[in-house]
Symmetry: D2
Subunit: 321 residues, 4 copies
């Protein structure tokens, strides 16, 4: 009979075997998001040890495999590549402070990746992810739908958790989104937020309004500062972003056309161009098919322009664009 | 060491080993919705054969078991009981035509079930499910949160499929609901329907509005007549309702507080009392915690009152209420 | 941005929208075994109604879709095709009685399928599945690894259920297999059967041997007659075979190289050639890579030869080979 | 209607928010192994940050929740408690070197845990897990089935990975086990190891024996030294043990009676008493129901006695027993 070989149907590449890259790999294996997970890191000892540890758990995760190490050709032929390589955010440091170093990493990394996986969809997680998305798009010349970042998918998950806890409902029954920069200028779109089909400001428990202006402001604050809080306590954030990353990866591998708030280069949406920031977007097998324009009230319109402005300034300081 | 015994942590009881009851059992086993699935049917030969067939598949479904037959004590101690017993809808027959016979079945069935499972949450699938919910609540005297029906969960799933197909997005990115009677007077709430965060009437592909009044009307029509079409072709509907039922069962077992359009006795919501019809409702471990009042435009308000009126008439004809 | 399109990554084709084909489709959708499930049946009204019903449940099953009807081009480009078309086993009828009619169906069906899906792996479920495997291989000229049948995967599942129940352990901790014809001459290989790592005859509860010769004989009997019992009670078997079929499909789509007792053309294994019967076999992306020769005691060797002889006789009566 | 509350059906407690405890929590949430996961660590800042990070990912993991911090009453009412608290193994250090410090931790920890969760099943992961199992059993006076350790479940997973890679088959088709100490004196039971139903030494690829004595010895060596290799590269092992731990937890919550090589106090099995080491055991809702005696050849019998002796020496040095 035929030779015994295995044809991996789907291959997920991860750049960076740090706390984020390995959590993402672990979640991808457990959820069986791809047949093969491959990890690459310039620190080959770390990468090999992480791959070994992850592989020891595969008895419990299905028919998938994990490979990789310090050689970039581990990523050859990947269908989707998630980039987590870079410096990690230190306590006190803003996300934008990390930018310059990480742009420089991309300048050598992206061409090397394109050689290994010319057809891949690229997802950036490294911060500042919005700015790096523009940089990486320019370096590669890829169409903007094929190179984007996890944006506010994670921040939105934090938002829904807090709303769900106050409303006493399941998280997937909360419809609310964070848009803008993945950073301090991001904001929730409260004007159209609903719980089930009920506008958030009309949600009542025992006849009393739950989501007062004070509570909405407190939740906004909590979400924007969540990463700082986690980093203060454990030095990094990794588990939630691991799952958020896998969620996006699944939208691509499963050709879902899911609406997710990822960040890609804007081309006139809400009158903004030339920066990448998060809007609810259709994500499917080719990457980002469309960034949606949702209804915004005047304050939200203004906040979105501010967020774009913040990003434009950073890009200018970094000499991008 | 200790004796070898197994303590089933969660037990799902199903009344009726017909096409719906067994599809629901199959889906529950595959999704591992409960540790133990128990089926009861007055036709004991059928029930035993179905249990045997289902049990032969359990190698592939996890650590769950399936039991049952023609003896109602198979359901003893069940945490949730789904009722699918009854006559099936014949081609041409309206759902309400089935009512009288099925009310009579409940009169003997419900007291016997209450003996076996006094603490269970009861979910009615047998048609006409709205009317039978009121009848079963009166027979048992159970608080109305613990006895309700699958309502328009299935119809809403049909709605989202059609909208998702026209919008080219994932079904879970469609936020739209069918409310009212599970039957001819049901209707979609278009006024607040969205795709992702975009109002449905503003959804565009290549710059053109997709959901014109004509398309919305056609979709409404398709949903309301979907069951008739399936019944015409295969004599019954069973697979979709099996999954819809399991979805509700999971909300209870997992204490989800999910918002689902189930049907329970109204007590003043939208000014309606004394009938059961579907509204988006919070479903968790105790059953239906709250039926939500969502914004409706004038036409929808009117349609909801009509639907309630239709149900009130049926109940009067049947001597319920 | 790019056009909104969806690229189905994996496509499962099913021939026959009867009780087996639709149960298999339902299980495949719930387990998310393939991105797209397509069903074809010469009875187009039935096929369309089943597809409609199944599609109405897809809100609850992930990002997959179901299509099909009475036109065979619904199966175009399928990666795996499962054949369930045929007459169903009637009460009292042996599996071999169905053979002639079903061979004739394959004579027209297989060439038409090969046009639609020339690269597919083909899995036969229609009975008598061993004999039809040989017929289909000859009709198509496909290499024998790419056309095989579900064989005794289902029978083995029945065996493990009974052993697990008597041993009070999880089914996946039972290692025992039915080999030979999927029919009356099949048999369990008790000589090497174990529970965990304990030989089955040494398994004790409270110091007493559980699996006496009497119990082993009773279990064998039960397994061989299981299908007859289910058919007597409900007219057909469908749910367990639906899951067994999906299990095999997953081995192919996931390139698992799982060891499963499927039935393919033998070429000298245990000295047998020219018939298809079930042996534990390696199943992966190309189909059956290898049929394994396991240790058998003298009685088992003899039983296997008898089973092969039975099949050879049937094939001769049918003019195959 | 009723108040909105949530009743957690199953609660998993984890002691230690270190690299192992949080990986285990992450895997438990993703696999939905329990409705509620609660983490406790004396380092409350770390515990709170980890809980926050994990909770931010729960939008993607089902209807479960994660709570905890520096207060042990976070674990109140847990059904299963996994203990990962302790010092981590440093490069070069043997597992037994860690013993004394960790015994001391258990002396104060166990009584406090018993107050919070008197009915729980306790699973030790902290090393040296075999020795700590005996210590914890003595401290608590719990019946030995309710307090055991993850033992060689992880080591067995490593073994199966290596065998599966050489045999080119799915890991779950490999039947082989590591028994004895979770440490340097552990060993694989090759005498009854099989791939599918084929004895490992008879496995052939292209007509040649794959598992020669040299390869078996090399695999044994690799497994016994796997942890050292991972620790040398990344400073700890955490992902694989996280999944192995969850696998055991699922056996308890799902009342599986799965056969797993966990470590509990022996009472005469293979003539050994008074030490805890790993044998294939039945694990279900009450913990370890039975430790199985599997066939061993003379060398394996001897190796098992040696392993017991090693453990007895350690216990003596530590003043346990
Ligand atoms: N977008 C988000 O929502 C989000 C959330 C969390 C973290 N992050 C970001 O993710 C990034 C990674 O965080 P972490 O905690 O994993 O950091 P980490 O320091 O643990 O890991 C980063 C890894 O990248 C590797 N690396 C550096 N340069 C490389 C190169 N040229 N090629 C290959 N590998 C290289 C390093 O060796 C290291 O192992 C950070 O930028 C962080 O800010 C983003
Ligand atoms: N609510 C929905 O969305 C929805 C969708 C589909 C079907 N249905 C309804 O579900 C019901 C069942 O449909 P089906 O296709 O399974 O019908 P079926 O005829 O296949 O099965 C009904 C079963 O109920 C059993 N039964 C009758 N009286 C009983 C009693 N007193 N105790 C126990 N068992 C009894 C019968 O023996 C039979 O096996 C019908 O009323 C149908 O209209 C509802
Ligand atoms: N191998 C096993 O373990 C196993 C188990 C159960 C059933 N089966 C077999 O599966 C087969 C199907 O059983 P069922 O209960 O689904 O029967 P069924 O009668 O419900 O369905 C068979 C379907 O095949 C269709 N069909 C017939 N000829 C066709 C053709 N040329 N092209 C396309 N479709 C065609 C029919 O229209 C019908 O819808 C039977 O042969 C049965 O014995 C095998
Ligand atoms: N059994 C196995 O197969 C296996 C595999 C890997 C690791 N381990 C063991 O698991 C243990 C934990 O490893 P790790 O990498 O998570 O270490 P870690 O240092 O990252 O975490 C240990 C945590 O325990 C906490 N802790 C210490 N004393 C405590 C107490 N009294 N109460 C509550 N919390 C307390 C510490 O604050 C720390 O956060 C080690 O003993 C390691 O050897 C076992």
């Amino acid at each position: 009979m035929a030779n015994i070989t295995t044809r991996p149907v789907t291959k997920l590449g991860i750049v960076g075997a740090g706390s984020v890259g390995t959590a993402l790999a672990y979640a991808a294996l457990i959820r069986d998001a791809a047949r093969q997970v491959a990890i690459y890191d310039i620190d080959s000892a770390r990468a090999e040890a992480e791959v070994l540890d992850l592989s020891h758990g595969t008895q419990f995760t299905g028919a998938n495999t994990v490979t990789g190490g310090g050689n970039i050709d581990a990523l050859a032929g990947a269908d989707v590549i998630v980039i987590t390589a870079g410096a990690r955010q230190k306590p006190g440091q803003t996300r934008l402070d990390l930018a310059a170093a990480n742009v420089r990493i991309l300048e050598s990394l992206m061409p090397a990746l394109m050689e290994q996986a010319p057809e891949a969809v690229y997802i950036l997680v490294t911060n500042p992810c919005d700015v790096l998305t523009v940089a990486a798009q320019k370096i590669t010349g890829l169409p903007s739908n094929r190179i984007f970042s996890s944006g506010t998918v994670l921040d939105t998950s934090r938002l829904r958790l807090l709303v769900a806890q106050s409303a006493h409902v399941l998280m997937s029954s909360v419809h609310a989104t964070i848009i803008g920069e993945h950073g301090d200028s991001e904001f929730p779109v409260w004007s159209s937020a609903t719980i089930g089909p009920v506008p958030i400001r009309e949600w009542q428990i025992s006849g009393r309004q739950v989501f007062t202006d004070e509570l909405l402001a407190a939740i906004t604050d909590d979400v924007v500062n969540a990463a700082y809080k986690v980093i203060a306590g454990k030095g990094a954030t990794n588990y939630a972003i691991g799952l958020a990353g896998v969620r996006i990866v699944e939208a691509v591998f499963q050709a879902q056309n899911a609406v997710l708030p990822v960040s890609a280069l804007l081309r006139g949406e809400h009158g903004i161009s030339g920066v990448a920031l998060s809007l609810p977007s259709i994500v499917g097998s080719g990457g980002v098919y469309k960034m949606l324009e949702m209804p915004l009230d005047d304050g939200e319109q203004q906040a979105l322009q501010n967020s774009a402005e913040t990003l434009r300034n950073t890009m200018q300081n970094l000499g991008i664009g």
